[in-house]
């Protein structure tokens, strides 16, 4: 048991569980912001799986395989960009909705060109 629960496997399993938790949040949560948080938890779980893979692949003087680690770094930045875009959309949406609800066009009302 201990052998199979090397840090790699352990955090891999943790990542697997986080994937489930993140998915659950994304699917069931009614609030959009929390869905974005859910995506980040899902992402964290996925990155942990990568980390587990990296940890297992240590060798040649490195404690872990650097390739998956580099992938995770790229992945984290991409995930952050996605969150930023999603949050910006969400804020804009809520702004427009508030404008609509107040009966007046939002001050930032704009007309599409196309």
């Amino acid at each position: 048991m201990t052998a199979s629960l090397s840090p790699g496997a352990l955090f891999g399993l943790c990542g697997a569980a986080l994937v489930g938790i993140g998915l659950y949040a994304i699917v069931t949560h009614p609030g959009l912001l929390r869905r974005i948080v859910g995506c980040n938890i899902l992402g964290a779980g996925i990155f942990l799986v990568f980390g587990a893979v990296a940890r297992r692949g240590g060798g040649a003087g490195f404690e872990a395989d650097p390739v998956p680690q580099a992938l995770v770094i790229t992945g984290i930045v991409v995930a952050f960009s996605a969150s930023a875009l999603a949050v910006a959309l969400l804020k804009r949406l809520s702004e427009l909705n508030v404008g609509e609800r107040n009966g007046t066009a939002a001050p930032t009302e704009q007309r599409g060109r196309l």
Binding site: G43, G51, R56, S83, T108
Partner: protein, 310 residues
């Protein structure tokens, strides 16, 4: 003993994640998520990935956290809940997610043994790059194309965020300053940035040989800039301001230029000439750090809200 610590860490991570999901209050959930991000950094340390740990804490936890907190502050009270789910539906989803986790766990436990790895290959090729940190070598040499495209992804996200501005103020400045700036914040914004900049530069500089690198350094710099902007010490620039544009495009542009030069002077696109690899990589990293810092800060700052100063 370490196994026990790891187990505790894992349990804590899972508990926090569940807490984030089931917590009613939006803000509490986000704060729990912040804590989750910090713990995740610890987990990365335990996975022998200090580079990732730094990135996770800086971007995954910190950057995302501040983004979410700011959004929560804006949305509070007006976020309309939509498409709620029945209890049975939630149960079904829960069972499904559990099944996916279980399958995933099975897959993780069934990985081939001995573990396949590229560590030896990476180590062997490290000499040609002159770098000491293999992760940096992967990011900026072996898989530089990914990194290049990912820079474009960040830039696109920024363009996307900016495109959400109203038409009239599109190329104006975003607004990050709260209505009332608390005194201590201003104080912090005066004291901290010099340290932050030093730390950022240090992180970038050691990145070639030790944990650290462009993203981590860029995030620290971005945090400093945001702090200054939030405290109102220096207003955010117009999105069309040349200096900002230069900072944003400089990194990718230099990267591209060196990449194309590689196809003339070295073995191909994104290849570095023998012996010049390290200086070139450091140069790229320097420019990228600035670009990342500017992009991350502007991503958090959001779309323009004020007409441009002409």
């Amino acid at each position: 003993m370490t196994l026990l610590l790891d187990l505790a860490l894992v349990a804590w991570l899972l508990a926090l994640a569940v807490h984030v999901v089931v917590q009613r209050g939006e803000r509490s959930a986000i704060i729990a998520f912040l804590a989750f991000g910090l713990l995740l950094g610890l987990a990365w340390v335990r996975l022998a990935a200090p580079d990732v740990a730094l990135t996770e804490i800086a971007i995954g936890g910190g950057g995302t956290g501040i983004l979410l907190l700011r959004a929560e502050a804006v949305l509070r009270g007006r976020g309309k809940e939509e498409e709620p789910m029945t209890r049975a539906g939630k149960l079904a989803v829960a069972v499904g997610c559990a099944a996916i986790s279980a399958g995933l766990g099975l897959a993780v436990l069934s990985f081939a043994s001995p573990a396949p790895t590229l560590a030896p290959a990476a180590a062997e090729a490290l000499g040609a790059t002159g770098l000491g940190n293999p992760v940096t070598a992967v990011l900026l040499a072996y898989r530089a194309l990914d990194t290049l495209l990912e820079k474009i992804v960040v830039l696109l996200a920024l363009i996307g965020v900016w495109s959400l501005a109203p038409d009239g103020v599109w190329d104006g400045a975003p607004e990050v300053k709260p209505a009332i700036v608390p005194g201590p914040l201003t104080y912090l914004a005066r004291i901290l940035p010099p340290f932050g900049i030093v730390i950022g530069v240090y992180m970038f500089w050691v990145g070639a040989d030790a944990p650290g690198g462009t993203f981590q350094a860029g995030t620290v710099l971005a945090a400093m800039w945001l702090l200054v902007m939030m405290a109102g010490l220096k207003p955010p620039p117009d999105t069309s301001r040349p200096l900002l544009v230069l900072a944003l495009t400089g990194g990718p542009a230099l990267f591209l230029a060196i990449a194309f030069l590689g196809s003339i002077f070295a073995e191909g696109f994104l290849a570095y000439p023998e012996g010049l690899a390290k200086p070139l990589i450091v140069a790229i990293e320097a420019a990228l750090t600035l670009s990342v810092a500017a992009a991350l800060a502007m991503l958090v700052a959001g779309p323009a809200r004020k007409a441009p100063a002409r």
